[in-house]
């Protein structure tokens, strides 16, 4: 592992901004790839500087996923687009029950984008990859004309190895399964909203952006019969539970009082008229586990610092239409449904 230079390796005097030529296949692009991407991501497969990474398959089943990252602002309390681009794909692999091994990174850069900012993003990706124990082994860079992009878009694809023979997904969910939640809700959505300068919302909330591979591994290693895993990104906990219930055609019942939401997130939600159940997270997941293994699974999660606040929040009650109900603060039940779109701040 090399030492990271904190200053941008491409001197400002050379090219302080991304130019079309950085995607043009010539000397400038070559310098960008070599000095920035290969030096920061630092691994032998990438250093081979070939058209693709060639490696030996770990054997057994593989998980393969991709996601594209567009976020405004690029940097927000608790994370940035780079950390998101790594963790998001790592987490999608983890939700397949896979151990993430390799990642690709595709950059779409807008002409004029600051080289210094790109370096900060790339450094953040490198750090997130190290934290998740994964290598970024191949990539691509394109530059679009000024005004044709939003600074930077990142796509990552990820490959993970599945070392067990369990089938993890909505089809494996059974009546009686308990639903575990790995931590408190709503930090990412509120942190990003508050970071948008045009919404003058003051908040101390930091994004929960984090890799989930370790907690998922701990859950699998505990021997608990894990039936399904879902990270709680856009649409939040509510949409994830509704999706799993509808796909498995098993009804679910949640208890709102066991779902943790920090006070700063709650106050922001009260102010905006948001329901934290639908606010996005980037470091939380729900797990569907056989009822008899509930306490074992819970203990495995609570033993890790990042999932210490894990809790059992509901059960799959029995075959049905996949309806989801939640017992609220007053102990009364209500139905919950997917929202038709994003939550919008209310008038009063």
């Amino acid at each position: 592992m090399s030492d990271f230079t904190l200053s941008c390796p491409i001197p400002i005097s050379d090219t302080p901004q991304i130019m079309l030529a950085h995607g043009g296949g010539g000397r400038l692009m070559n310098t960008l790839i070599r000095k920035m991407f290969i030096s920061a991501f630092d691994n032998p497969l990438l250093a081979a500087a070939h058209d693709g990474a060639v490696f030996v398959s770990p054997g057994g089943r593989l998980a393969f996923t991709t996601d594209s990252y567009v976020v405004r602002p690029l940097f927000f309390p608790g994370g940035d687009i780079g950390a998101l681009a790594v963790n998001g794909t790592v987490n999608d692999l983890a939700m397949c029950g896979a151990r993430p091994i390799h990642l690709s990174a595709g950059f779409i850069l807008e002409e004029g984008f600051s080289m210094e900012t790109l370096w900060r993003v790339v450094l953040s990706m490198a750090q997130a990859a190290r934290r998740a124990g994964i290598d970024i082994v191949t990539g691509d860079t394109k530059v679009v004309e000024h005004g044709k992009g939003d600074g930077i878009f990142i796509n990552t694809a990820g490959l993970g190895a599945i070392a067990h023979d369990r089938r993890i997904g909505p089809a494996s969910v059974k009546s009686g399964d308990v639903i575990l939640l790995s931590g408190d809700l709503g930090r990412h959505g509120i942190a990003v909203l508050a970071a948008r300068a045009e919404l003058a919302l003051e908040s101390s909330v930091e994004s929960d952006c984090a890799p989930l591979a370790a907690p998922v591994q701990a859950l699998l290693d505990s021997g608990a019969e894990v039936h399904c895993l879902r990270d709680l990104t856009r649409g939040g906990l509510a949409s994830a539970v509704i999706e799993v219930a509808e796909t498995s055609r098993i009804d679910a019942r949640l208890d709102e009082r066991s779902i943790a939401v920090s006070d700063p997130v709650r106050s922001a939600c009260e102010l905006l008229g948001f329901d934290p159940l639908y606010v996005a997270n980037e470091g939380r997941f729900a797990a569907w586990v056989a009822a008899r293994d509930a306490s074992r699974a819970l203990a495995a999660l609570q033993a890790l610092p990042e999932t210490r606040a894990a809790a059992i929040i509901g059960t799959m009650t029995g075959p049905g239409n996949g309806a989801v109900t939640i017992r609220g603060a007053l102990g009364l039940e209500r139905a919950i449904d997917m929202l038709s779109g994003e939550q919008l701040p209310r008038i009063c």
Partner: protein, 367 residues
Amino acid sequence: MKYIDEYRDPQVAREYAAALARVATRPWSIMEVCGGQTHAIVRFGIDQLLPQGITLAHGPGCPVCVTPLEVIDKAHEIARRPGVIFASFGDMLRVPGSRGDLLTAKAQGADVRIVLSPLDAVQLARDNPAREVVFLGVGFETTAPATALAIAAADRGNLRNFFMLVSHVLVPPAMEAILSSPNNTVQGFLAAGHVCAVMGWRDYEPLAKKYGVPIVVTGFEPLDILQGIYMCVKQLEEGRAEVENQYSRAVRREGNLPARELIGEIFRVVPRQWRGIGEIGASGLGLRERYARFDAELRFGVAGVRVEEPAECMSGLILQGVSKPQECPAFATRCTPERPLGATMVSSEGACAAYYRYRRAAAEVSR
């Protein structure tokens, strides 16, 4: 969370429900005026705690719901003009006009921005002197002080590029319209706590007297609402028709005097169209003559836009408490939050949307 959890205590809620069951000897129909209260009632299941015979009618107090179609169409038309930045509260963006909503206008290239306060729109105008910034000034007496403050700030700063499309509405005239209707079934009101925090409750005293209805100024948390219902039922049972204040931690009889003065300085009372209900005399606020230069209708020449409501939508009856959402033949079939016929299905505080969100799945399960 402080000042929230105390008002959501399940034990105290059940005690209130039990007390209510002891005082209620007859069926009563009570209307909560405000959409925020409707939302809390459905979300927390407060109506499930009420003794049989006590029914809640959901009132017209959702600003998103009652903003007339033609205002949305005017907003749409202004937002699409070149050089305009159109600023609005978030939940107005999804309200459909006859030509689509503001999110559609944004997708087609209009510069539409969400702001949390009208003052943020004034700041947008300062920051973008070459653009014309238009704010959609809607809402009840609750938002009127903030929009008045925005006009005052724009006036003080001599801003020439800030405009407002004003469609403010007032609660007491709407309550009177409901009470004087031959269809009226409402016997008591929970008045909207936040509106009264601004305006006080003097305007409600003649209504209580003239129509013989109890009016209880009520807050928005579950225990507030339960206590408000209890106070209202107690008055009905005792044959009283007074204005009482449940929300004493926020509301005084005279309201917030500086806020009222500011509203009076900037706005005058005008007749106003209510979506689904029609025109109600002296039920809205419009800019005074001396602030007419901020009037977006005049600046952009859209004052003449008139639009008919879709015939099938019965949101007018719902807003007056005459019908419940699920009694509408189009509810959850031809009218959904994705394809709303009327605004009560659009706003998160609209009665139809609240029923769709919290009750539809429950109804399917019980079927």
